[in-house]
Structure formats: structure tokens, C-alpha cells
């Protein structure tokens, strides 16, 4: 579905991602793990078009999108959700309507089908998103992703700053959306996400250090020491 070839990107003359290649098949979940916070967010932003690509190629369903605008990429079905990607001063309904109109030219901004998956948002539609707790905000983010009708989600630290109980809720929602047919690329250190992933991609200093199934990678001593220390 998504194919990345020798991708280079960064800010100004500083390259943070220094030539990364991997593929993401339809309905897969892949998790990005990096040391020193090094480059996960940059990689996701680069894929979303928020940071310009300096080298390499990004192909989405056979189409070269390396130089497409963020808007074109969203319309092509790939959505990046920042760590706290909601609109706090808008109501929950407005958040969802906005998300649902992101991919469509006009008209249909029906959010009722989305709400079926997120019953606890239903009663709070007219509240400002700012009134939600950290965990509920993450759930709203996922609801917005569903409303947008995107097929591929790039999630940035969906569990950061959450207590373990909420991490589980986010995780369950991701699993549910996968069953619905969505594809995920998730930057996340929490191992619960690694466990459900089809592949784990370990990034170090802007390059892929290693990749593979979580269970496999755990067997490698050096990786274990560096990334897991189990």
C-alpha cells in the first residue's frame, strides 16, 4: 500500500532521516521504535508532507506522492495524526465534521456512522474538545481518523502521557479499526503496540537499525539490550 524508498528528510540543512526504505501492506500494523526520540516524528511528518522530502520516493498505492501537498496525501487516503491532533477550541461535533470533510470535496459530512464505534463521544458532542481528558482526546483523535475515511493512519505516540488503563483503550480501538480494514504506521514505545504489530521497525540515527517481528527481535541480544533491555 505504502512504499518508501531511500527517504531523506529533515529541517534546514540538517538531515534527520537519512535514507529509509520499507513497505507497508494493506491492513498491516507496523510500529516504529527509535532511540533517543530520534526521528520517528520527523519520519511521520515527512510521510504526511508537513516536512518536505529531500530525497527518495514515497509511493502510495502505486502513485508517487513524494512531492504532493499534505492535502493531496490526505485525499489519497493517508492521514497523519500528531501527538495531540485535535482542535481543542472546537466542539467534538465540529472536530468530527471537519475530519469528515477533510477527504471529501463537498456535501457528506455524516458523522453518525463514526459515532457508532465511539459511543462515549455521543453524549458530549456539543462540548468543547478542550474539556476532554488526555485519554479521551486520544480516542477523539481516532474517531476523527475514522470520520475522515482514511485507509492508512500515521499515528504519533498514541499512548504518550496516558495512564495504562487508557493505553489499553487506545490499543483496543486500534485493533478494532484494523479489523475494519485500516492500515497503521505507529510511532510508539509502549510494547503493547509492538506486540500487536506485523512488523517492528527500529530506527537509530536516521537509519533503520533492524526490523522484524517483535518476538524475533527480542531474541537478538544487542537489540534486546539497546531497545528492550528485558
Amino acid at each position: 500500500m505504502l512504499k518508501i524508498n531511500d527517504l531523506v528528510c529533515g529541517y534546514g540543512n540538517l538531515n534527520i532521516i537519512k535514507g529509509i526504505s520499507f513497505e507497508l501492506g494493506a491492513n498491516e500494523i507496523k510500529v516504529l521504535l527509535s532511540l533517543n526520540g530520534g526521528g520517528k516524528t520527523t519520519l511521520l511528518k515527512c510521510l504526511s508532507g508537513l516536512i518536505p522530502t529531500k530525497g527518495g520516493k514515497i509511493t502510495l498505492e502505486g502513485k508517487d506522492i513524494s512531492n504532493s501537498s499534505p492535502r493531496e496525501r490526505v485525499k489519497a487516503g493517508m492521514l497523519y495524526i500528531p501527538e495531540w491532533g485535535i482542535f481543542p477550541s472546537l466542539t467534538i461535533r465540529e472536530n468530527l465534521i471537519l475530519a469528515s470533510s477533510a477527504t471529501r470535496q463537498r456535501g457528506n459530512s455524516d458523522i453518525s456512522s463514526t459515532l457508532e464505534y465511539f459511543p462515549d463521544l455521543k453524549n458530549r458532542l456539543s462540548e468543547k474538545a478542550a474539556s476532554l481528558s488526555g485519554g479521551q482526546r486520544k480516542i477523539l483523535m481516532l474517531a476523527m481518523a475514522v470520520a475522515s475515511g482514511s485507509k492508512l493512519l500515521l499515528l504519533d505516540e498514541p499512548s504518550s502521557g496516558l495512564s495504562p488503563a487508557y493505553v489499553d483503550r487506545v490499543l483496543d480501538t486500534v485493533k478494532m479499526l484494523k479489523e475494519k480494514g485500516m492500515t497503521f504506521l505507529i510511532a510508539e514505545q509502549n510494547t503493547s503496540f509492538s506486540e500487536i504489530s506485523d512488523e517492528l521497525i527500529l530506527v537509530e540515527l536516521g537509519n533503520i537499525a533492524s526490523r522484524g517481528k517483535y518476538e524475533e527481535l527480542r531474541k537478538n541480544d544487542e537489540i534486546k539490550r539497546k531497545f528492550f533491555s528485558l
Binding site: S163, Y166, F227
Partner: protein
């Protein structure tokens, strides 16, 4: 001894802190955990003076410090780091650490230089001392933030959510560093955050916060074997195990 007595703090209708009574011993490590919105960071803000409590008392070695501004509390030995590290981005690493020492009440020039050197070595950031903090990576920023807080020779240091977003291997080395700091600098170190792996590694007493007040104190093992806490904090899935 640092003691809070009946601290209340409201934001609008919401009570972030409800009658918080908690004691911090002069030496050792304690971890404060709790769900989001439990009031942990608010407590740190109130104790360091960044926020003013609505009511209650904060006592340091028998002296009331409620009315003191943040810069005076630092001089009495209360210091902190930030969840999102906040070094002075236009200053160099060296200047950042020096500032921590310079304005903490110590006027002995040589000691200031020695403290600065010692802390940079302890944290392993001596090699980047000339770099502008704005140009550091996340990890280095974290260390500079910590270094600044340490340079004031704190008696009590609050470390706010330091392990978030780290790979597990890094969490282990962070916990080792925290323990080493506590031993070498001889202080009371309060870790506030969610990273359970780190809390476990610290092998320290744990205080659990919920809805604005501490509801439990005990060892890590006690915490994870208490069903109520697990339901509240870790979620139902873990409770069944």
C-alpha cells in the same frame, strides 16, 4: 522534611488537588504515579511555587514556604525538571548548568564552577558544553534540564515524567542514572510519572494519586498486587491476571 498539609487547588469547577497531605523524607527516592488528571503535576507546580494553592500549607523543615516565590524556594533546596524538557535554548549547555548553580544562593565562585563541572560529568554532557541548547536532541535536552535542576544543590528534586517516549533499554539506563544521582548528590528525589517500567526499576516506595489526592503508599509490589489500584490505574485487563 518537606510536608504538605491540606493543599487544595481548583481550576474552575475542577479540583486538581483535594486536601493533599504528603511527606517527603530528607533522603531517598519516592515515585508518584496515578492516572491522567490525578493532580501529580499540579502538586509539583504548587510545591515549587509555579502555581499558588487555594488553601493549605507547605512546610520545609518546619518553616512555612507557601508565600515564597519560586526563586526563593530554589534557594531553600526545592528544584524540579519538566515533562517536556525546557532548557534555555539560546544559552549553551554550560551556561544552562551554571545558571542553576549561580542563582541558588551559593556565592562562592569556585564552588559554582566545581558544581557545574561535576554535574556535567555526572550526566555525561561535558563533551557538548559549548553547544547551544536549542540545537540539542531530545535526550540531550532532557539531561540539560536535569543538570540545571541538579546544579542548585537541591534537597528535594522533582523529576516530572522523564521516561515518556523512551525505548525500554533507555528507561533502564535512565533509572540507573536516577539512582546514581540520588546516591552521589544525597537528596530526596521524587519521580512523578507513568512509566511503570521506570517505577519498577527505581525499587522505591510508590505513592498513588487519584482524583487529586494520594490514595495509597507502599512498595511497587504492593501497588501491583492491589486490585483496586490496578483497576483504577492499569485497567481491568491487568486485574484479572
Amino acid at each position: 522534611m518537606l510536608v504538605t498539609k491540606g493543599i487544595w487547588k481548583n481550576f474552575g469547577k475542577l479540583s486538581a488537588l483535594k486536601d493533599v497531605n504528603i511527606e517527603f523524607k530528607e533522603k531517598g527516592i519516592i515515585a508518584i504515579i496515578g492516572p491522567n488528571g490525578a493532580g501529580k503535576t499540579t502538586l509539583v507546580n504548587v510545591i515549587t511555587g509555579a502555581l499558588r494553592e487555594d488553601s493549605g500549607k507547605i512546610n520545609l523543615d518546619g518553616k512555612e514556604i507557601n508565600r515564597l516565590p519560586p526563586h526563593a524556594r530554589i534557594r531553600m533546596g526545592i528544584s524540579r525538571t519538566f515533562q517536556i524538557p525546557r532548557p534555555f535554548s539560546n544559552l549553551t549547555v554550560l551556561e544552562n548548568i551554571r545558571i542553576g548553580s549561580l542563582f541558588s544562593g551559593n556565592s562562592n565562585k569556585r564552588e559554582i564552577e566545581e558544581d557545574t563541572e561535576r554535574i556535567m560529568k555526572l550526566l555525561g554532557i561535558k563533551s557538548i558544553e559549548g553547544k547551544q541548547a536549542g540545537k540539542l536532541n531530545t535526550e540531550e535536552r532532557r539531561l540539560v534540564d536535569l543538570g540545571r535542576a541538579l546544579a542548585s544543590r537541591p534537597k528535594y528534586i522533582f523529576i516530572d515524567e522523564m521516561g515518556a517516549g523512551l525505548a525500554e533499554g533507555e528507561v533502564i539506563s535512565l533509572s540507573k542514572l536516577i539512582k546514581k544521582i540520588q546516591i552521589e548528590e544525597e537528596m530526596s528525589l521524587i519521580y512523578v510519572g507513568h512509566v511503570m517500567k521506570l517505577v519498577k526499576e527505581l525499587e522505591s516506595p510508590v505513592a498513588v494519586f487519584s482524583e487529586g489526592s494520594p490514595i495509597f503508599q507502599g512498595s511497587f509490589e504492593e501497588v501491583i498486587s492491589n486490585d483496586e489500584i490496578i483497576k483504577l490505574y492499569l485497567g481491568d485487563r491487568y486485574a484479572k491476571n
